[in-house]
């Protein structure tokens, strides 16, 4: 029962504290539901590749996630790198340490900024669309129609979207990172007179495989989080078109917060040695 179609609790006329309490209960229910949904979708992954129709479905979702977002990610990646290059470069020139510009830009991008900005872009471009699409389907009884046909909405609708997000998110983060490093280098070269070659050598020598893997791992998690959150919000849509708007909004906000918090937690887990 991932699709509820109605409010779990009736909050009308309840006292303030009761409402808060019910809202907390709802939050925990949502977390539990998300975990169940994620497990169900993950367990449906192998099935996705058996059937011709669902394979087609996965590829079209990958196209939507990976290719259609490229223009946005390109601009965002490039400018994130350029801003980093400029700010860090300005700070470094104060201490005559411009030769470390490449290292600084590379580290912040590969470890944090690339997965982060990719996650934000994906939640805005793809997550919102998933929530709106699934929400509209709930409101129009299309999800109910699937359930009547014993087609699990999680397998049929969530799994391809989640799979596409999980696969494409690391690729996009890598792409954003490459573009960002190049952008930072261009700024260093044109505005701060840091030779491009020197910048690149410094950038490449600092980056360890671990940095790359942790960064990609982070973006994998972000992809999954965006998929799960926006699907759940879409599925719990109530009350028609306004409900769809609310679900979309909530999906973006929740994904955004989780990306920040989980980003910190992953960093903490991998980089702070005891």
């Amino acid at each position: 029962m991932v699709v509820t179609r109605e409010s779990v609790f009736n909050k009308n006329g309840k006292s303030f504290f009761k409402v808060i309490l019910l809202q907390m209960c709802e939050m925990f229910a949502a977390i539990g539901m998300s975990v169940i949904m994620m497990c169900e979708a993950l367990s449906a992954f192998p099935l996705l590749f058996f059937k011709k129709d669902s394979r087609k479905n996965v590829f079209s979702q990958m196209y939507i996630v990976g290719i259609r977002t490229l223009p946005v990610i390109t601009v965002v990646g490039l400018f994130t790198g350029m801003i980093l290059g400029l700010q860090v470069g300005l700070a470094l020139t104060k201490f005559n340490q411009e030769s470390f510009l490449g290292a600084a830009v590379m580290l912040s991008l590969i470890r944090e900024m690339a997965p982060f900005v990719t996650g934000i872009c994906l939640s805005a471009c793809v997550g919102s669309a998933i929530a709106a699409e699934l929400g509209t389907m709930v409101v129009n009884d299309e999800v109910a129609a699937l359930e009547i046909m014993s087609i699990s909405p999680v397998r049929y609708l969530v799994a391809p979207r989640l799979g596409a997000l999980a696969v494409m998110s690391p690729f996009l983060a890598f792409y954003a990172c490459v573009l960002g490093v190049v952008g930072g280098g261009l700024i260093g070269w044109t505005q701060l007179a840091v030779p491009f070659r020197q910048y690149m050598v410094s950038a490449m020598s600092i980056a360890l495989p671990k940095d790359l893997f942790v960064g990609l791992f982070k973006s994998l998690i972000f992809g999954i989080v965006i998929g799960v959150v926006s699907s759940r919000e879409g599925f719990s849509t109530k009350l028609g078109a306004t409900g769809v708007g609310k679900a979309t909004q909530r999906s973006v906000i929740i994904s955004f917060l989780l990306i920040l918090v989980l980003g910190y937690m992953v960093t903490r887990a991998f980089y702070l040695e005891f």
């Binding site: 409010s7 129009n140 299309e142 109910a144 129609a145 699937l146 009547i148 046909m149 014993s150």
Partner: protein, 258 residues
């Protein structure tokens, strides 16, 4: 075959169904009529477990639908065809693909066999020419008919029709009504029809139930329905200019055509 016992549904503070009990026997055409917003669609959704009752139970034969979940609920749902009020077609599939979906997912038929059955079903609802169009490209009435084709394409025991003829022109509406009747006769399918078209409901149903203000007003055969002295029933009949005499005349005409 289907039994609702004291079905009550409350959304938030509003009582949508209040102690609704009825049963539908096998092979029957059972119509549900009533004003807009009285919970007819909600009742249908309870029959297939899309809503859980606040209290009361729903049975399909001896199995309780209202508490079933997982595999058991899937087994129950496999016996149902369902036409949703808005058609509920999937937007990214063409009309033919939408109709083929239950066959593809629930049966092991060969591809050309599926195609043949899909074309038959589309032909029956008069949509053969629209097979390759997408739901957004066809009108509301056509979407509803495509939904109907999807509901009946697979062999099932019970079909639920949520307003199959509303929004259709009179001639198409008659075709659809005849189709419902024919499927019911040929395949022995139990049919539950929610409709606003009282005249036709009186002609083709075995029993009619009226819901008003979330309660059952009457549950009777068409003859008893027309003869009823209940104020709400009379009001409903008056609104569609149906009297006992005109009903008898219609019935004669109808039976001549059958």
């Amino acid at each position: 075959m289907i039994r609702c016992e004291n079905l009550t549904k409350i959304f938030g503070d509003s009582v949508v169904l209040d102690n609704v009990s009825f049963s539908v026997s096998k092979g029957e055409i059972f119509s549900i009529v009533g004003p807009s917003g009285t919970g007819k669609s909600v009742t249908l959704k309870h029959l297939v477990g899309l809503f859980r009752p606040t209290s009361g139970k729903v049975f399909l034969q001896d199995e309780e639908v209202s508490s079933a979940s997982g595999k058991k609920l899937e087994k129950i749902r496999e016996r149902f065809g369902y036409l949703f009020q808005g058609g509920a077609l999937l937007g990214w599939l063409s009309v033919a693909e939408n109709v083929a979906l239950p066959l593809k997912e629930l049966t092991r038929l060969k591809e050309d066999e599926i195609n043949r059955q899909v074309m038959d079903a589309l032909d029956a609802v008069g949509l053969k020419d629209a097979a390759d169009l997408f739901p957004a490209e066809i009108s509301g009435g056509m979407q509803k008919r495509a939904g109907l084709a999807r509901a009946i394409v697979r062999k099932c025991d019970i079909v639920l029709y949520d307003e199959p003829t509303s929004g259709l022109d009179p001639v198409t509406a008659i075709t659809i009504n005849n189709l419902i009747k024919r499927i019911n006769k040929e395949r022995g399918i139990t049919s539950i029809v929610v409709t606003h078209d009282l005249a036709n409901a009186l002609l083709f149903s075995d029993r009619i139930m009226m819901i008003k203000d979330s309660k059952v007003v009457i549950n009777a055969t068409p003859d008893e329905f027309v003869a009823s002295a209940n104020k709400d029933v009379q009001e409903f009949l008056d609104a569609q200019f149906i009297t006992e005499e005109s009903y008898k005349r219609m019935k004669v005409e109808y039976e001549k055509k059958q």
